[in-house]
């Protein structure tokens, strides 16, 4: 065998390795020269609704009733598991600004981000759940929208916000006997 064909074989062998390592498919978010915008992650063409994702349920998707008013009830029953999940998602996405207790003193705020109002403000305590949902989904004033969060998770966060409101602003009458005893003992 000639030296030239041996060299060719060697080159071909190297080529094989490269093709297996870098195959003719795209990794997520890889550059894709095939498309004009060079993006692997394609956007949906305008007006396309993915199958099964038509957002027809206004209560669930917009927090609004058929007459357009903000809803006062959740679109699904909130269980203990939903609250646990809501607490977790709140911790991930909301604490940087709102803080663990919703006082509006998160770390980003301490670094200079415009402070949000506390969840215990009367305006928010009286707000229908649809309002809290809408603010999460659309943003408000300096708060960006969080509509990339899964829709049920958004409602679970609303539920956790209500937990924070109630836990810091509950009338003594709604407390159980044990808690009321603790409260009386703690009073000066």
């Amino acid at each position: 065998m000639s030296r030239a064909s041996a060299a060719l074989l060697l080159l071909a062998a190297l080529g094989c390795r490269q093709q297996m390592r870098e195959q003719a498919r795209l990794d997520p978010y890889e550059e894709a020269p095939f498309f004009a915008d060079d993006m692997e992650a394609r956007r949906l063409p305008d007006g396309v609704v993915p199958r099964g994702q038509a957002r027809l349920d206004r209560h669930l998707w917009q927090g609004r009733a058929a007459d357009g008013s903000l809803v006062t009830v959740y679109p699904f029953a909130i269980t203990r598991a939903d609250l646990v999940r809501g607490e977790q998602r709140y911790a991930i996405h909301c604490t940087p600004c709102h803080g663990r207790l919703g006082e509006g003193d998160g770390l980003a705020v301490r670094r200079g981000y415009p402070a949000p109002i506390a969840f215990t403000a009367a305006r928010l305590r009286d707000a229908p759940v649809g309002h809290i949902f809408e603010v999460i989904s659309q943003g408000r004033a300096t708060m960006p929208d969080y509509d990339h969060l899964e829709i049920h998770d958004r409602w679970r966060i609303v539920a956790w916000v209500q937990v924070l409101q109630l836990s810091q602003h509950a009338p003594a009458a709604v407390l159980g006997a044990d808690d009321r005893t603790h409260l009386v003992e703690a009073l000066p």
Partner: protein
Amino acid sequence: MAQLFRPSADRRIRLVLWGLPLGLGLAGGLGYALSRAGWTTGVGRSPAQPVPFSHDHHVGGLGLDCRYCHESVEIAAFAGLPATETCMHCHAHLFADAPLLAAVRDSWSGERPIRWRRVHDLPDFVFFDHSIHLHAGVGCETCHGRVDRMPRIHPVADLSMLWCIDCHRDPAPHLRPPADVFVMGWRPDPADPPAPGHVEAHVSCSECHR
């Protein structure tokens, strides 16, 4: 009959006999060391990025949860890379004019993605899934190290097949309770070690190669 070999030939033959295995061994050793070194595997190396993003500041300093940015890590193979919008959640107001963040603002106003350079890049013949590892109790830190102390992200593991298999053969010592998967610097409490989770160790070829 004249001597075919001069007296020095003995020396040369000995030199070759000893030198050949020694040289081959050395070359092999050097090759092996090189193949494991960070210079080849990329361990400890941070490529230049369009924005000098610091996990040390955002995770270690501010305490952001991994999932604030890596949203799909619990539900998908790909952990998810934050959209420029996620950066702008804060940086529309904080360091809004910082020259360091010019690339972020350009991306935001021009609707062009930031061209981050991939730091953890598996060969295309490996199919890795983040979500299943998290649900099995593998912490982020287990593979990615103390990300909260990295001003520039860099790999701490060589992502070699040997490294994967080592854990797959005996995962138990590398697992955590589900609640601690996203915690940086987690160590089992020696007084109250977590109950060993039951995870089936998969080591068949087709588990990762298709």
